[in-house]
């Protein structure tokens, strides 16, 4: 079984590489389709044709975009992310600190939300139809029905403006103590947990229930096996595939999708960086961010797929 997993992982690695390449090309063409280039955007209202032409020359953007892209891709293989068109800073420097911030936030959120969400989802399935189940369901849907920016804004108004317990901004750069860390992360993490938990709760509940519906489990239940035991011993392992997929999809949101939280709490993460890059048409930066998101996503779903295969002996 181990060799099988290894072989699968190796195969996935190759495919991941191809996927990244494919994404790089797709993003290149997509960015090329966007109207305006970096020189025009930087000049904004001052973008007269001669000014744009002059700036393009000065920025070495005279070469065809495709050649520049291929060159950038070549450099990438040597581990060099290139230099931002906009501010001439190395992209590794621009991304470095902000990626670390994003990973910190995503990590804390994942550690808190995944166990809670799975526990809620599975217990709701065990106690299907009870008041507890109903409350969990309604709570889950209510929580994601409120737009993220509203959750964040309400949290700020209540905890920062009225109560004054927490800072309104989450200055990751200035955290020096554990207490400070807790304070800075409390509201962003709660907001994000609200957003990502719902899918995990709902899917784990639904997937466990579905396996409970299989004739085999039903038979065992009719014979008097305890429901809790059936869920933990039989239903859960069978439902693990869809559950880990839901977890992976939810977590993949935590890197690139947290733009609202980054904006409202002024948290210097990588999602905002990517948006900046898109609006300034800073191709190397867009590409680098997209590669990171894609890599994170591939990593998550590969783990999900592997867990799914390991958990279901028939798939091996």
């Amino acid at each position: 079984m181990n060799s099988l997993i290894l072989r699968l992982a190796a195969k996935r690695l190759v495919i991941a590489f191809l996927t990244l390449l494919f994404v790089a090309f797709t993003i290149f063409f997509a960015t090329e389709m966007l109207p305006g280039d970096v020189a025009e955007v930087l000049l904004g209202q001052a973008a007269t044709p001669e000014a744009v032409a002059g700036l393009r020359t000065a920025m070495n953007l005279d070469q065809p975009a495709f050649l520049r892209f291929i060159y950038w891709l070549g450099e990438l293989f040597t581990g060099d992310f290139g230099v931002s068109y906009v501010n001439k800073l190395p992209i590794a420097d621009l991304i470095g600190g902000r990626l670390a911030n994003s990973l910190k936030l995503a990590g804390v959120t994942a550690v808190i939300s995944v166990p809670i969400a799975l526990a809620l989802g599975i217990t709701a399935a065990i106690k299907r139809g009870t008041l507890y189940d109903r409350i969990v369901s309604i709570f889950t849907i209510s929580v994601i029905s409120v737009p993220e920016f509203m959750v964040a804004t309400i949290a700020v108004i209540v905890f920062a403006v009225y109560l004054g317990w927490l800072p309104a901004l989450s200055m990751a750069n200035e955290v020096t103590s554990i207490g400070g860390l807790l304070k800075a992360f409390a509201m962003p993490v709660i907001t994000l947990s609200f957003v990502v938990s719902a899918q995990m709760i709902r899917m784990s509940r639904a997937a466990v229930l579905e396996t409970l519906n299989t004739p085999y489990v039903e038979m065992a239940l009719l014979k008097g096996a305890s429901r809790r035991r059936m869920v933990l011993r039989h239903a859960l392992p069978n439902a693990l595939g869809p559950i880990v997929n839901a977890v992976a999809l939810s977590l993949s949101y935590l890197l690139g999708g947290v733009i609202i939280v980054e904006t409202i709490f002024n948290y210097p993460g990588i999602a905002k960086l990517m948006l900046d890059a898109v609006s300034t048409r800073d191709l190397p930066l867009i590409q680098s961010c997209a590669m990171i998101f894609c890599l994170a996503y591939l990593l998550l779903i590969t783990i999900a797929d592997l867990v799914a295969i390991i958990s279901n002996p028939r798939l091996q």
Binding site: L34, P35, G36, A39, E40, V41, L42, L43, G44, Q45, A46, A47, T48, E50, A51, A53, G54, L55, T57, A58, S84, V86, N87, L89, L94, G97, R98, F149, A152, T153, V156, I157, A160, V161, G164, P167, A168, L169, N173, T263, I264, F265, N266, P268, K272, L273, D276, A277, V278, S279, T280, D282, L285
Partner: protein, 536 residues
């Protein structure tokens, strides 16, 4: 329709403070408030608060955090490339310019001791002595030559390339004197040099990330798109060095979040708030309003060379169709001044007061549109968040149009790329113009036949020649008369519908003192850091 207006007390505070600074008497002030419908007792309270705010003596020390509205990886410390409030604030802290424009709108000397000319064409700039850059280098005329010539190099990407083109030559006469020769006479040169982009950098600078200037603060940290930290320049050349020990500047893109950060005390200054936020801010002890009348505006452009604007009377029709009162009251909550379809506000000394104010007159618009034969057609108006409040303006126009049988479809487009893809290019669209200190700059940028930003394709040889004539005139009265006539020409002839001038609203912590409005922009013309002080 009820006609209650919910924001009078809020703007009052700022207005009264400003009046006190101008030297108004208590009696005048109370009368002013009485006219505004404020009861005498309330008036006395406001007055007490406002007087206290102005009278106190500056305190040295303290560190503040201030938040602007936009930051990105394109943030720069190169004054030539500076493109928004965030850049202007930073550059104003680290650099100085040759001249400055004070709160009253007068041009004053800064790094220059004098700027003089006998023919408005050749100008002699005498520099102040004993000014040093942060790295210890002394300010010389070579720095001025370098700083000004940069704008002419297309490779720099200067935002004021169009303005700088009138400079024919800059040369150093001696160590402390530079000579600027213009292509043609321009009496406004000292005022033009007060624009943010013309700040003086050290000769030969290629790396601007150090912020090496002569300004009141030195750079401690700068991360584009994240934040910058500045510390007081102890060797500043002015007798009054900055009061603050330092400040941190960053941007919170979300307006509500910016306001909440101020209310919770995380920051001491929140720039560019929406007038709508007055409801929360007024009477809130955690915030004071800081209102600046600037002369910036969002305008509806009806291109005169494309359908439907190419038909006689269509642009004029829109000027009668736009309900300036509703825009002022409903969209901008009173924080605006009615404009008259030309870019010169009434606090500018060249304003033409004789020009009759155009009123909302849908019937007249209807007959103009009927004559042009466009009633019943669908007109598409392009708007985007990029042009402040333009979507709300568009709705106001749309509603008025629907009542006279003109169908207006709003074409909302992404802010991203708006200026290069839609502005000036679409037949009917919105623009957003920042205030400029002189009519000459506005007219040359926006209305000259070959102007790069000629938003509606306005062409008039008479206008062009009047522009050149006035530019070289040192006779103020004659100038005012010509500029007055030109305002009438724009108002009647161009396709730009300029409904109101928008005021800028910043909110500050009640502990932050020393700010006075400045026509160069919000946050005291972006120079708040140099003058502000923090109450202990």
């Amino acid at each position: 329709m009820s006609d209650k207006i919910a924001n009078w007390t809020a703007s009052d505070d700022a207005m009264v403070e400003n009046a006190i600074r101008r030297g108004a008497s208590r009696r005048e002030l109370l009368q002013m408030m009485f006219m505004g419908g404020v009861a005498a007792t309330t008036g006395a309270t406001i007055l007490g608060r406002a007087t206290a705010a102005v009278a106190a003596e500056p305190v040295k020390g303290g560190f503040i955090k201030a938040a602007g509205f936009s930051a990105s990886t394109a943030d720069t410390l190169d004054p030539a490339k500076a493109s928004n409030a965030t850049d202007y604030v930073r550059c104003s802290a680290f650099y100085n310019r040759l001249t400055f424009i004070n709160g009253a709108g007068e041009t004053t000397m800064e790094l220059a001791e004098s700027i003089e000319s006998s023919d408005a064409k050749v100008w002699i700039v005498k520099l102040r002595k004993g000014v040093t850059f942060h790295d210890g280098k002394s300010l010389t005329s070579a720095d001025v030559v370098f700083s000004l010539n940069r704008h002419l190099d297309p490779a720099v990407g200067s935002k004021v390339n169009a303005l700088a083109k009138q400079i024919a030559q800059v040369k150093a006469v001696d160590d402390q004197t530079a000579e600027i020769t213009l292509q043609a006479p321009n009496a406004d040169l000292p005022t033009i040099l007060a624009l943010h982009h013309f700040m003086i950098v050290a000769d030969g600078t290629t790396d601007f990330s150090k912020g090496n200037g002569t300004g009141p603060f030195v750079l401690k940290e700068f991360q584009p798109g994240v934040r910058s930290i500045a510390a007081r320049n102890e060797n500043y050349w002015k007798e009054r060095k900055a009061n603050l020990e330092g400040f941190e500047f960053f941007a919170i893109g979300d307006e509500t979040a910016r306001m909440n950060a101020l209310l919770s005390g995380d920051i001491q200054l929140a720039a560019n708030l929406n007038p709508r936020s007055l409801r929360v801010l007024e009477n809130n002890p955690a915030a004071n309003l800081f209102i600046s009348k600037l002369g910036s505006y969002t305008n509806l452009n009806v291109r005169l060379d494309m359908a439907p604007g190419d038909k006689q009377g269509v642009a004029e029709g829109f000027k009668y169709l736009i309900n300036r009162d509703v825009i002022k009251k409903s969209v901008l909550r009173g924080l605006a001044e009615i404009a008259n379809d030309h870019p010169i506000p009434d606090w500018n000394k060249y304003h033409n007061a004789e020009l009759k104010q155009r009123e909302f007159d849908p019937e007249r618009a209807k007959s103009l549109f009927a004559k042009a034969g466009i009633l019943g057609q669908e007109i598409r108006i392009t708007a985007a968040e990029a042009a402040n409040s333009s979507l709300d303006y568009a709705v106001v126009v749309q509603q008025a149009a629907s009542k006279i049988g003109l169908k207006v479809a709003i074409n909302r487009v992404p802010s991203d790329g708006y200026w290069s893809n839609h502005w000036i290019k679409d037949a009917v669209h919105f623009g957003n113009i920042n205030a400029r200190p002189t009519p000459d700059i506005l007219f040359s940028l926006l209305y000259k036949s070959d102007a790069a930003w000629n938003e509606t394709g306005y062409k008039s040889e008479k206008f062009d020649s009047m522009l050149l004539e006035a530019r070289g005139l040192l006779d103020e009265a004659k100038r005012k008369q010509i500029y007055g006539e030109m305002q009438a020409m724009i108002s009647n002839g161009a396709g730009t519908v300029i409904p109101v001038f928008m005021s800028n609203v910043d909110a500050i912590s009640p502990k932050l003192k020393g700010l006075t409005p400045n026509p160069l922009g919000g946050m005291m013309g972006y120079t708040f850091a140099e003058h502000a002080w923090l109450e202990a």
